[in-house]
């Protein structure tokens, strides 16, 4: 069971305070109406679901209600860090996206 650092509350909190939000930085097609069914289906349902480092969304449900990103290793449950959405995006991009 995790302790997550909420980048907004600036505290470590127990997992029960949080909600899991799935893979972070999924890209909604900018013009959904023009993409084909497969592309839309891919956005809707397909997941990388990596075994290893995963960029993911969590929300601080009982606290600040903010969504933020966590980099977590799904093979070990180790956590590399958590960031606000904006800060996380920078780190993520700097790493070259989901790796």
């Amino acid at each position: 069971m995790f302790v997550l650092f909420c980048p907004h509350c600036q505290e470590k909190r127990e997992e029960e305070e949080f909600g899991y939000g799935g893979e972070a930085f999924r890209v909604r097609p900018s013009t959904p109406d023009t993409v084909d069914d497969e592309t839309w289906g891919d956005y809707l349902f397909m997941r990388s679901n990596p075994k290893g480092w995963n960029w993911e969304l969590w929300s601080h449900a009982t606290g600040c209600r903010k969504f933020f990103v966590v980099k977590r290793n799904t093979a070990t449950n180790a956590i590399a860090g958590s960031w606000t959405l904006a800060e996380g995006r920078k780190v993520y991009d700097a790493e070259g996206g989901a790796q």
Partner: protein, 417 residues
């Protein structure tokens, strides 16, 4: 197939200090090439190999397993077998499996201890009762044994159940499927392994698939921890690890791998002779032949491949069980564990060809695939052998996620089982 497990063989071998028993299955080293390679020696993978050999005459088969066979979710599920699903497609698939279950021990010459003790799906809200009515009627029209029971009938059949009106979620009724049951999970893997092995299937344990070779849109073979294996066709049946395998072929799947936990009590004298499941209270229980209560609930909400989950989930499950069965409050948990379940958006499996020729996936069984083991293997074998889905798994192809033809079983399966 020679039926060499019997009272007689126990007797004759017993006389000779049980020294004459043969290996249940033959452990093989991987050959350089196979006609069909099945990745994953869980119940589903082994069943696939068995039916490929038995029903489709495919001879040159290997099942590749990274650990010990039957050590994935097959080893860690709560063994509930039922077919009272909601949608026709799902019901028919699970019923196909249930029919196979009913003859499986004899077919495999291996007692998988399939015990048809019935399942109760409790209803606690008016909407639960509507859903149950809908599902039971659909089941009956599909030829499935299903009944609807009111609170008094449920109480009569399960006297230890808390049916108080003052309960947080009072029991308003239940659906009941008498033919549902439980089985000895490990025996299913062993039984299929033994039977497949007798047909000449190579079972290769401790051999992990780490890459896939593709050329011209076709599968060529597999990189494994024990070298390259050429294969004309590859069927991936890796449950929680399906996305990992898919990635090797450049495919993404609509799967999230979550921990699903379960626990057992200490072994006790018989006290619960059926299976009780409750979505609203969020727990379910049965008692094994050995006497331990086998208990589970829902998944941990985050993804993880660790085969362990968070304790508050277990605590909530224990609370749910006490809510349903107040007399179990003083009973003790002996062991808890977790598996990695491959959940899909519509809580239905994927048994499908892929855009890579010769590469097939059977996955997405999530929290409820044990019950499908023989049926899943049976239709998947057909799919691989014919390069064309069996009528029962046509609807479970990957393209439903772009056509929108989802088969949403969430209502019927909110709690794992």
């Amino acid at each position: 197939m020679k039926k060499d497990y019997s009272l007689w063989s126990l007797f004759t071998k017993g006389l000779k200090h049980n020294e004459g028993w043969d290996p249940a299955w033959r452990s093989a080293d991987p050959k350089p090439s196979y006609n069909v390679v099945i990745v994953g020696a869980g119940g589903h993978g082994l069943a696939t190999a068995y039916y490929l050999a038995k029903e489709h005459g495919v001879r040159d088969i290997a099942v590749i397993e990274k650990g010990y066979l039957g050590g994935g979710n097959t080893a860690r599920n709560t063994t509930i077998v039922r077919s009272n699903y909601l949608w026709d497609e799902a019901t028919m698939l699970y019923e196909h499996a249930l029919k196979l279950w009913e003859g499986l021990t004899e077919d495999l010459n291996f007692n998988v201890m399939f015990s048809q003790r019935g399942v109760f799906n409790l209803g606690h809200t008016l909407q639960d009762m509507r859903d149950i009515e809908r599902r039971v009627n659909a089941n009956v029209l599909n030829g499935i044994d299903a009944q609807m029971l009111d609170t008094a009938e449920v109480k009569r059949m399960i006297p230890i159940l808390n049916t108080s009106k003052n309960a947080r979620y009072p029991v308003l009724g239940a659906s009941y499927q008498p033919r549902a049951g439980v089985a000895r999970h490990d025996a299913v893997a062993w039984g299929f392994a033994r039977a497949a092995s007798k047909y000449g299937v190579d079972i290769v344990e401790n051999c992990e698939v780490i890459g896939m070779d593709l050329a011209g849109g076709r599968i060529q073979g597999l990189q494994t921890s024990r070298g390259f294996i050429r294969a004309e066709r590859v069927g991936c049946v890796a449950s929680g690890h399906s996305s990992v395998l898919a990635k090797m072929a450049g495919i993404r799947l609509p799967i999230d791998s979550h921990p699903l936990q379960a626990f057992v009590s200490e072994s006790m004298k018989p006290v619960l002779d059926t299976i009780v499941m409750s979505n609203a209270v969020h727990g379910y229980a049965s008692q094994s032949d050995k006497g331990e209560l086998v208990i589970g609930a829902g998944i941990d909400h985050y993804t993880s491949y660790t085969q362990r989950g968070s304790p508050h989930i277990i605590e909530h499950t224990a609370a749910a069980i006490i809510e349903l069965f107040p007399i179990f409050s003083r009973v003790r948990m002996n062991r808890q564990w977790g598996g990695i379940v491959d959940t899909t958006p519509d809580a239905c499996p994927i048994i499908s060809k892929t855009k890579v020729k010769g590469l097939y996936f059977n996955c997405g069984w999530g929290t409820g695939g044990f019950k499908a083991t023989p049926g899943s293997g049976n239709v998947f074998a057909h799919t691989i052998a014919k390069d064309d889905p069996h009528p029962l798994n046509k609807a479970f192809s990957l393209d439903r996620f772009s056509t929108g033809h989802l088969i949403d079983e969430h209502g019927a399966a909110a709690v794992a089982h």
